[in-house]
C-alpha cells in the first residue's frame, strides 16, 4: 500500500493529549506555576512540560503517524511502534513531573526520577523519530512539507538531548552546570520553535492546501522557508552550545537567530496568505477560519517579540510571549486542525468500507460548526486576554483567562466526542448496512 491507510492509535494520542491540555489549564487556573512562581521554578516547569510534551507533542505525534505516510505516499515504517511510544511518553512524562515535584519540595528527594524520566522520554521520542524518519527516507521524497517534519524531528532530538543533560545535572549525576545555567533558552527554542513550529508549518502547508482546494505552493518558496527555519534552529543550538562552551554569553546568538526567525516567519506568513488567497473553496470551513486565528496569534507573537526587543523589555515579558506562542499559535492551530482531522478520520473509518455501495453522510454532516464556533471564539479570546494579563502583571485576571480557556477547551472536546460518536448524524444514514460505529479512543482497522 502507498500511504493512505488509517493508523490505529492516532485517536489515542489525541485523547491523551487533550487530557493533558485540560490538566495544564486547570493548574494555571488554580495558580500553580507562573505567575505565582518564578519562570524557572519547578512548579512552572511542571505546567510547561504538561503543555509541551503532554498536549502539544502527543497531539503532533498522533497527527504525524497519520499524515507523514500521506505526505510521502509510503506506508509507515513500523505501525506496531505507535502504542509502545505512547506508553513510554506517558510514563516518561509522569516521571518527569514527579521529578519537578521533588525539586519543588512536594515529594521526598527521589533524585532518580529525573534521569529515569529522561531515559523513558528519549526512548519514546526515539521510537517516534526513527519510525517517521525511516518512512520519509524510504520515500526519497523531493523537498516539500515532509522536509519540515525532518527539520522538526532533528529539533526534537536536540530538545530531548538538552533536556536529558539538564535532568542528569539536576540529579547530581552530570557536570553540565554551565549548560544548566545558560542553556534553557536553547532547549525551549529547539522545542517550541524547532520541533513544534517547524513541524506545524510543514503539516499546515499540506492540510490547508488539501482542505481548501488550493494549489500546492511553489517548491522554491517552500525550500527557502525551510532553509531559513532550519538555519534559525541550527544557529540557536550549535551557536548557543559553542557560546556556552566558550563562556562568551549567548545573547548575540539569540539576537541573530531572532532576526533569522523573523525572516522565516515572514516567508511562512507570505506562503500561508498565498494559500488562502488562491484557494478554490469559496466558503471556508470552521477549521480553516480558526487556523487563521492561530496564524494571527503567531503574527501577534512575532510583533510582540519585536516591540519588546526594541523596547528592551523582552526578558521581563518572555513568559507572555511564550504563552501566546504555545496557546494562541500552536494550541490554536492544533485544536482547529483536530476539529477537521477527527471528523475526516471518523468518516473514513466508518463509511469508507461502504462508499459506493450505500448512501453515506458527508464529512460535514458529522459536525455542527455553529455549535463549535462559539467555543473556538471563546478559546482564542481567553488566550489573548491571558497574554494581556501576563503583560500587565494581572495574576488574578490571568487565572480567570485560564479558567475560560479550560471551559472553552471542554466545549471543543465535547464537540470532538460527539463527532467520534456520530451523535450529530441522524436517520438511516448514520450507520448504513455494513458499517460499524467507531470506537472513541482508537480506530478499528
Amino acid at each position: 500500500m502507498i500511504g493512505g491507510n488509517l493508523t490505529k492509535w492516532t485517536m489515542s494520542y489525541f485523547a491523551v493529549a487533550i487530557v493533558w491540555l485540560i490538566i495544564g489549564e486547570c493548574l494555571m487556573t488554580i495558580g500553580f506555576g507562573f505567575p505565582f512562581a518564578a519562570t524557572e521554578a519547578p512548579d512552572t516547569l511542571f505546567v510547561v512540560h504538561i503543555v509541551c510534551i503532554g498536549w502539544l507533542s502527543m497531539a503532533m505525534c498522533g497527527a504525524l503517524f497519520q499524515f507523514v505516510p500521506v505526505l510521502v505516499a509510503k506506508p509507515l515504517f513500523a505501525d506496531s511502534w505507535q502504542l509502545p511510544a505512547l506508553m513510554l511518553l506517558t510514563v516518561g512524562l509522569v516521571a518527569l513531573l514527579g521529578g519537578f515535584m521533588v525539586l519543588g519540595g512536594h515529594l521526598p528527594v527521589w533524585l532518580w526520577l529525573l534521569p529515569t524520566a529522561a531515559l523513558l522520554l528519549v526512548a519514546g521520542f526515539g521510537l517516534v523519530v526513527t519510525d517517521l524518519a525511516i518512512t520519509i527516507w524510504r520515500a526519497r521524497a523531493s523537498i516539500g512539507p515532509a522536509y519540515f517534519v525532518i527539520a522538526g524531528l532533528c529539533s526534537l532530538c536536540a530538545t530531548a538531548a538538552l533536556g536529558s543533560a539538564f535532568a542528569w545535572s539536576l540529579a547530581g549525576l552530570g557536570g553540565a552546570s554551565a549548560l544548566l545555567r545558560s542553556g534553557i533558552p536553547l532547549h525551549a527554542i529547539a522545542g517550541l520553535g524547532g520541533w513544534l513550529t517547524l513541524t506545524a508549518m510543514g503539516v499546515s502547508y499540506r492540510l490547508l492546501a488539501m482542505f481548501m482546494l488550493a494549489p500546492d505552493l511553489d517548491k522554491r518558496r517552500i525550500r527557502t522557508t525551510l532553509f531559513a527555519g532550519s538555519a534559525t534552529i541550527g544557529l540557536v543550538v550549535a551557536g548557543g552550545l559553542f557560546a556556552i562552551a566558550r563562556e562568551i554569553g549567548i545573547n548575540v546568538v539569540l539576537i541573530s537567530a531572532g532576526c533569522l526567525g523573523f525572516i522565516t516567519l515572514a516567508l511562512y506568513g507570505r506562503n500561508i496568505i498565498s494559500l488562502y488567497w488562491r484557494r478554490e473553496r469559496a466558503q471556508l470551513e470552521l477549521n480553516a477560519k480558526m487556523s487563521a486565528w492561530g496564524f494571527v496569534s503567531l503574527a501577534a507573537a512575532v510583533l510582540l517579540a519585536a516591540v519588546l526587543a526594541i523596547s528592551g523589555s523582552f526578558q521581563t515579558h518572555v513568559e507572555a510571549f511564550a504563552f501566546l506562542v504555545a496557546f494562541g499559535w500552536l494550541s490554536g492551530l492544533v485544536l482547529a486542525k483536530l476539529y477537521k482531522i477527527v471528523a475526516f478520520l471518523t468518516w473514513l473509518e466508518t463509511y469508507g468500507p461502504v462508499l459506493g455501495r450505500s448512501a453515506t453522510p458527508r464529512v460535514q454532516d458529522l459536525v455542527i460548526e455553529r455549535r463549535a464556533a462559539k467555543w473556538f471564539v471563546a478559546y482564542f479570546i481567553s488566550v489573548w486576554s491571558g497574554t494581556a494579563a501576563l503583560l500587565l502583571g494581572q495574576s488574578a485576571a490571568f487565572q480567570v483567562a485560564a479558567f475560560a480557556m479550560a471551559v472553552a477547551t471542554l466545549g471543543i472536546v465535547q464537540q470532538l466526542i460527539r463527532t467520534r460518536r456520530l451523535a450529530d448524524v441522524t436517520g438511516p444514514l448514520r450507520l448504513p448496512g455494513g458499517s460499524r460505529a467507531p470506537h472513541l479512543l482508537y480506530a478499528s482497522i
Partner: protein
C-alpha cells in the same frame, strides 16, 4: 544471465495529457522472455509497480533531473506462467466506460464518486477520473475491493489522471 531492456519513453504522452498505460501493456506483450523495460516517465509510477510485480517483474527506479524518473523493470527469476503474447494482449486495459472530472469537487467527494462509479463497472471494465491530488485515501479501498488502478500527474502537475479497472 545477461539482461537487455526495451526503452519506452512515455513522457511525451504524459506531457500531452495522454494515457500511457495501454502503450506500456502493449510493449510488455511484445517482450522476449528475458527482456525487461526501461521506462521513462514524468512521475514515479508507483501504481505500475504492483501491476508489473504481478506479472513477474522487479523494478529499480532512479530520479532524473526535473522530477522525472527512469524505471528498470526486470523479469524476476521465474517467469509468469502466462507467457504467450495472445494471452498478454488480452490484458491490455480497455477504454474507460466512465469518465469523471472530479477536479472541482471538495475532498473527499472525488473518492465517493469514484467508488460509486467503480461499483457499477462490469468485470474487467475501466473508468477514468481526473483529480486535483493523488487520492491516497482511496487506494486502500480500491485494493480491498479487488480493483486495480494506474495513475499519475500530468506534466504540469495540476491534474492527477487515474484509471481504475474492475476485477475480472
Amino acid at each position: 544471465m545477461s539482461q537487455n531492456y526495451v526503452d519506452l519513453d512515455v513522457r511525451p504522452i504524459l506531457r500531452k495529457g495522454g494515457e500511457p498505460f495501454s502503450v506500456i501493456m502493449d510493449a510488455l506483450a511484445r517482450l522476449d522472455p528475458a527482456q525487461g523495460i526501461r521506462l521513462y516517465a514524468t512521475f514515479k509510477p508507483i501504481p505500475l509497480f504492483a501491476v508489473m510485480a504481478e506479472k513477474g517483474f522487479t523494478h529499480a527506479e532512479t530520479e532524473l533531473e526535473g522530477g522525472e524518473w527512469e524505471v528498470l523493470f526486470t523479469p524476476a527469476g521465474t517467469q509468469p506462467s502466462e507467457t504467450d503474447s495472445a494471452a498478454r494482449l488480452n490484458d491490455v486495459w480497455p477504454d474507460p466506460v466512465v469518465r469523471l472530472d472530479n477536479r472541482d469537487l471538495d475532498p473527499p467527494e472525488p473518492m465517493v464518486r469514484i467508488l460509486g462509479a467503480a461499483e457499477g463497472l462490469k468485470p474487467g471494465e475501466t473508468l477514468s477520473a481526473l483529480l486535483r491530488r493523488e487520492p491516497l485515501f482511496l487506494f486502500p479501498h480500491l485494493e480491498k475491493r479487488g480493483f486495480r488502478w494506474l495513475g499519475g500527474f500530468t506534466a504540469d502537475g495540476a491534474t492527477y489522471e487515474l484509471t481504475v479497472r474492475a476485477p475480472i
